[in-house]
C-alpha cells in the first residue's frame, strides 16, 4: 500500500550537488527508444558519470579545505616566519662554511645544510601541524565544518595539503635563497646536489607534518598535542640515532637492522638520501655508517612517501570517531 506523498518531498529537487552534476540530460537518456545496446548504455553510463561526479565533488571539497588552510596559514604569518627562519639559518650555514672551497666545497655546504635541516624542518613541520585538528576544534570551526556535507577524511586530507603547501613553499623559498648563493659561489654544477637536498627537506617536512596531523587528531587538548609533538621531535631527531648508534656499537647487528633504523626514522632517511648523493662530502659518524647501509634511493623515497601517507590515512580513520 502506498501512502500519501508528502508535498515537501515532491516539491524540490532532492538530488545532491554531485548527483546534479552527473545527471545526464533527461531528453538524452533513451536516444533510440529501446534498442538493446541503448539499454546497456543507459544502465552503465549514469553509474560511471555518478562515480566521476562523486570524485569531482570530493576533490572540490578537499581543495576548498586546503585553500582555506593555506590562506589562514599565510595570513597568520606562518609562511613568512618559516621562510624567514630557513633563510636566516641557511645564510648562517653558508657564512660559517665560507672556507669550504675546492671541488668538494659545494658538497660540504649541502651536507651542512642537511644537518641543519634535519633539526629545523621537523621542528617547523610539527609546530605548523600540531593544532591542525585540535586547534580547529577549540575555536569551534571543526564542528561547523563537520556539519557540512563533507567527509571528515576529506577535511583531514585538505587540512594536510593546505599546510603542506605552506611548509613546502617556505622550505623551497627559504632554502632556495641558500641555493642561489651556492650556485653563485660554486657554479651551476652544484645545483643537482642542492636540488636533492631541497627535495629531501620538503619530503622530511611532509612526513613530520603528517605525524603532527595524526597527533592533533588523536589528542583532545591543544597543549597535549604540543607536548606530544615535542616528544616526537626529541625522539626522532635526538634519541633515535643515538640509540641506534649505541646498539650498532654494542652488538654485531645484521644489515637488515641498519635498514630498519634508517627506514623507521624519516630524519635518518632524509640524511641518507641526501648524503649518499654527496659521496666523500658526507662526513663520518653514524650518518656515514647509515650511508654505507646500501639502501637504494628508491627504497628511501618510498619510505618517506609512506611516512607521509600512513599517518594521514590513520588520522583520517581516527577523526571519524572523534566526538565533538
Amino acid at each position: 500500500m502506498t501512502g500519501p506523498v508528502d508535498p515537501d518531498e515532491r516539491a524540490s529537487d532532492r538530488r545532491t550537488p554531485d548527483e546534479r552534476e552527473s545527471a545526464p540530460d533527461e531528453t538524452g537518456t533513451r536516444p533510440d527508444g529501446g534498442h538493446a545496446g541503448a539499454t546497456v548504455e543507459a544502465s552503465t553510463t549514469p553509474v560511471t558519470a555518478a562515480n566521476a561526479a562523486a570524485v569531482r565533488g570530493s576533490v572540490r571539497r578537499v581543495l576548498t579545505v586546503a585553500v582555506t588552510e593555506y590562506r589562514l596559514a599565510v595570513r597568520s604569518r606562518w609562511a613568512l616566519a618559516l621562510t624567514g627562519l630557513f633563510v636566516v639559518f641557511g645564510a648562517m650555514i653558508l657564512t660559517f662554511s665560507g672556507s669550504a672551497l675546492g671541488p668538494d666545497g659545494a658538497g660540504r655546504v649541502v651536507a651542512s645544510l642537511t644537518s641543519l635541516a634535519a633539526y629545523l624542518v621537523p621542528l617547523a613541520a610539527l609546530a605548523l601541524g600540531y593544532d591542525a585538528v585540535v586547534g580547529r576544534e577549540d575555536e569551534g570551526w571543526l564542528a561547523v565544518t563537520f556539519s557540512l556535507p563533507v567527509r571528515r577524511s576529506e577535511v583531514v586530507v585538505g587540512t594536510y595539503l593546505g599546510r603542506l603547501a605552506v611548509l613546502a613553499g617556505a622550505t623551497v623559498l627559504g632554502f632556495g635563497f641558500s641555493g642561489v648563493l651556492i650556485v653563485r659561489e660554486f657554479g651551476i654544477g652544484a645545483w643537482s646536489a642542492f636540488l636533492g637536498f631541497l627535495l629531501g627537506a620538503v619530503a622530511v617536512g611532509s612526513a613530520f607534518l603528517a605525524v603532527a596531523l595524526l597527533l592533533s587528531t588523536v589528542v583532545r587538548e591543544k597543549t597535549h598535542a604540543l607536548g606530544a609533538a615535542l616528544l616526537v621531535w626529541v625522539w626522532f631527531v635526538l634519541i633515535h640515532d643515538l640509540l641506534a648508534l649505541g646498539l650498532v656499537a654494542a652488538f654485531e647487528l645484521p644489515d637488515i637492522a641498519l635498514t630498519a633504523f634508517v627506514l623507521s626514522n624519516p630524519v635518518s632517511a632524509f640524511r641518507v638520501l641526501v648524503l649518499s648523493g654527496l659521496g666523500a662530502a658526507a662526513g663520518g659518524g653514524f650518518t656515514a655508517l647509515l650511508v654505507d647501509s646500501g639502501l637504494s634511493t628508491a627504497s628511501i623515497t618510498f619510505a618517506l612517501i609512506a611516512w607521509c601517507l600512513v599517518p594521514v590515512a590513520v588520522a583520517a580513520r581516527f577523526v571519524r570517531r572523534r566526538r565533538l
Binding site: 580547529r136 565544518t145 563537520f146
Partner: protein, 263 residues
C-alpha cells in the same frame, strides 16, 4: 521535511544521554526542544546531523536514516552548533564562500543574499571574524546555515549569550525564515518565552526521554489540567502555559510515563 527519532539510546561512558527517546517532528513545523542541562538536547541534535551514531534506535530525516548516509543528511540539514566559531583569519564573506564551495552551490549571489538576510552590513562581512562580537558571529553562523536554503534547520541554543536586542533581532530573522520557506526548524532553548513566540510545537526532554510533546497550546492546556495546584506553580498558569508544562514534565519525570499530547 519530517524528522523521526524512534527509541533512541545513547550513552557516553557511564552517562546515559538518551534513554529510549522517541519523537516525531512534522514537516514544515517550527519545533522547540526544551529541557534542563543534560536532558539530551544537544545529543539529539548531534545525532540529527550525523556527528554521533545512536547506540540503539533510529533517527531519520525525510525518511533517510542518518546512519546510512551522513553526508546526504548534512546536505538537507543546516546545523548551527551551540559553540559556533570561525577561524580568526577569515572574513565573514570568506566563511560563507567556504560553505558555498563545500556544498557545491552555484555562484549566484546567494552569499550576498545570506549576508543581507541576517542583517550583516556588507562592510562588516568584509571584516575579519576576529573583530566580530558574539552577536555578529551568531548572525554569520545563521547566514551559513541559511545559505543552501536547507530543508531542515537545526539550531542549538541559537540565542545563548546574546543581549536582549540581539535576541530580538535573531527572533525576527527566524520568523522571516519560517514565514518565507517550508523549512522544518528545530531549535533548543532554555528560554521558554522564546519557544512560545517562535514555535508551533515543542517537546520537553528530561533525562534522555521525551516527557511531553505536541502543539504549544495543547501542551500548555494539558499542563494546566494536570497541575493539581502546588503552591509554587500557581502563578505559572497565568504567566505562561509552556512554563507550567515544562515544570510539570521535569518535576514529575521520575514518576510519570512519557506523555504525548494530541495535536
Amino acid at each position: 521535511m519530517r524528522i523521526d527519532a524512534t527509541d533512541v539510546h545513547k550513552t557516553y561512558g557511564d552517562v546515559t544521554a538518551l534513554d529510549g527517546l522517541s519523537l516525531s517532528i512534522p514537516s514544515g513545523s517550527t519545533f522547540g526542544v526544551l529541557g534542563t542541562n543534560g536532558a539530551g538536547k544537544s545529543t539529539l541534535f548531534r545525532l540529527l546531523v550525523g556527528h554521533d551514531r545512536p547506540d540503539a534506535g533510529t533517527v531519520a530525516v525525510g525518511g533517510t536514516d542518518v546512519t546510512d548516509d551522513g553526508r546526504r543528511i548534512r546536505e538537507l540539514v543546516g546545523y548551527l552548533p551551540e559553540h559556533v566559531g570561525f577561524p580568526d583569519g577569515l572574513t565573514g564573506r570568506e566563511v560563507l564562500g567556504f560553505h558555498s564551495r563545500v556544498r557545491g552551490l552555484p555562484r549566484d549571489g546567494r552569499v550576498a543574499d545570506a549576508i543581507d538576510r541576517v542583517g550583516l552590513a556588507p562592510e562588516e562581512a568584509d571584516r575579519r571574524v576576529s573583530g566580530y562580537s558574539n552577536g555578529m558571529c551568531r548572525r554569520l553562523g545563521l547566514a551559513s546555515v541559511l545559505l543552501p536554503d536547507p530543508d531542515v534547520l537545526v539550531l542549538d541554543e541559537p540565542t545563548a549569550g546574546l543581549d536582549p536586542r540581539g535576541v530580538d533581532e535573531f527572533h525576527a530573522i527566524i520568523e522571516e525564515v519560517t514565514s518565507s520557506s517550508d523549512a522544518t526548524v528545530v531549535f533548543c532553548s532554555h528560554v521558554l518565552p522564546e519557544v512560545e513566540r517562535l514555535c508551533d510545537r515543542a517537546a520537553v526532554l528530561h533525562e534522555g526521554r521525551v516527557h511531553a510533546a505536541g502543539p504549544i497550546d495543547a501542551l500548555a492546556a494539558d499542563a494546566a489540567d494536570d497541575d493539581t495546584g502546588a503552591a509554587n506553580r500557581a502563578d505559572d498558569r497565568h504567566r505562561g502555559g509552556l512554563r507550567a508544562a515544562f515544570r510539570a514534565a521535569v518535576t514529575d519525570a521520575s514518576a510519570d510515563e512519557p506523555s504525548e499530547v494530541a495535536p
